[in-house]
């Protein structure tokens, strides 16, 4: 039994490394992204083997699913907006190549030495977390760490996501003929069938997070897939008048999180020190609103350009552009 699992682990490890190499060496960029998606899913499988199902879900949904969609969308843009005179890449001098190889080799050796020297399987924070679980308000340790014990980190993480969408809207401001990728009409039927199912799965992941693997980030990413499918199948087309609602949705998670953190203070309590009898309600409230923010923000990051009418050139020409 144990031997078969070791063989499985070894095969999986070899596959993960081989896919990483392949995604770096394949000439075709589309193939490289597809290989990366397979690599991400197999990494998630490896993390399940290391008894980290929450992280595996997050990696599969956000690290692989959403990231893969973002990469493919950018590849589509780069390939559609033709460059007439793209310069040939310059050859890299031999000395630089040697210096690069030496740098990478030394750094990897250093990391390997640090890994070999570090104690493994030793006591970390697990005992502390196990002792404090009864006052966390939830039954699942990872959710307790994310939303209660280290909630400040998670608040900052939501702020980073908010900063990203602000940055993307600024960077693409005034960019007119963004050719948005679109799926054919067959996909509209597919979308109508699958969207309700995805909504149920995403909401379930959010709800189950208090007692089992799942939570706001995994649920949010699955709900973001709804947004991606709506955008790709043209069942939803962003309009300039929708920006207000989008901005509210972006800020909702951060705002609610910070508001709860501050409102529970007083009476000798610190920020984020939820009163025990309301802890689960407050955590679910934060998670619910953060999930909405994450889903809308990730979908907006995929869409890219702020839906704003351009003054000088007629906007909306990219509407019927099929790949």
């Amino acid at each position: 039994m144990i031997d078969t699992m070791v063989i499985f682990d070894l095969l999986l490890a070899v596959a993960v490394v081989a896919l990483a190499v392949a995604s770096m060496t394949t000439r075709d960029m589309f193939a490289a992204i597809v290989l990366f998606v397979v690599f991400g899913l197999l990494s998630a499988l490896a993390w399940v083997r290391l008894s980290a199902p929450d992280v595996a879900l997050a990696e599969a949904a956000i690290g692989t699913g959403v990231t893969g969609a973002l990469l493919l969308r950018t590849l589509h843009h780069v390939q559609t907006v033709e460059r007439k005179a793209a310069p040939e890449p310059l050859p890299v001098p031999m000395g630089v190549q040697i210096a690069n190889a030496a740098f990478c080799g030394l750094l990897t050796l250093g990391l390997a030495a640090a890994f070999a020297g570090a104690p493994r399987g030793g006591p970390g924070f697990d005992l502390l977390v196990a002792d404090a679980m009864s006052i966390s308000g939830v039954d699942h340790p990872v959710t307790a760490v994310l939303l209660n014990f280290r909630a400040y980190d998670t608040l900052m993480e939501v702020v980073v996501l908010l900063a990203a969408v602000i940055a993307v809207w600024q960077i693409e401001r005034g960019l007119s003929d963004a050719p948005a990728p679109a799926l054919g009409e067959v996909w509209q039927g597919f979308a109508r069938l699958t969207l309700p199912a995805i909504v149920v799965v995403g909401t379930y992941l959010l709800w189950v997070g208090s007692s089992a693997p799942g939570g706001a980030f995994q649920g949010g990413a699955v709900l973001a897939a709804v947004g991606l499918l709506l955008l790709l199948s043209r069942l939803y087309v962003p309009r300039p008048s929708h920006r207000g609602a989008a901005r509210v949705a972006f800020v909702l998670g951060t705002g609610a999180f910070a508001a709860v953190a501050l409102l529970v203070t007083g009476g000798g309590r610190m920020p984020f020190e939820y009163p025990l009898e309301h802890a689960k309600t407050l955590i679910l409230l934060i998670e619910g609103l953060v999930t909405i923010s994450i889903a809308v923000t990730l979908a907006a990051l995929f869409h890219g350009r702020e839906p704003v009418a351009l003054p000088e050139r007629a906007a909306g020409t990219g509407g019927r552009d099929d790949a």
């Binding site: 990494s43 993390w47 590849l75 890994f115 970390g124 990872v142």
Partner: protein, 96 residues
């Protein structure tokens, strides 16, 4: 041969591949992809550090850190890709 050793070595190998890719690759998209490989490699090492041999539950704090890292990485990737799209459009305008 325990899973933590196998996947720890895997993580370091993936990080090294990503590092080489980020330095050597000339295609901008591939460079972003390489940095993403580095982040997955780092995730591997952190999750290995949290692993305990089966009857014991793993340490949840590194798990939470990796989830945070994944979300921060997707934010950074989105901004990098927006910069790539903008830069490409500007270059295409210059060519014309």
């Amino acid at each position: 041969m325990t899973p933590d050793l196998i996947y720890g070595v895997t993580g370091i190998a993936v990080f090294a591949i990503g590092l080489v890719g980020a330095i050597v690759a000339q295609n901008r998209l591939r460079r972003v992809l390489a940095l993403k490989l580095c982040s997955v490699g780092a995730g591997f090492v952190l999750i290995v550090a949290a692993w305990r041999s089966p009857p014991d539950a793993p340490d949840p704090v590194p798990h939470a850190l990796v989830i945070t890292g994944i979300v921060v990485m997707v934010s950074a990737t989105a901004v990098a890709l927006a910069l790539i799209r903008r830069l490409h459009s500007l270059e295409a305008e210059d060519d014309a």
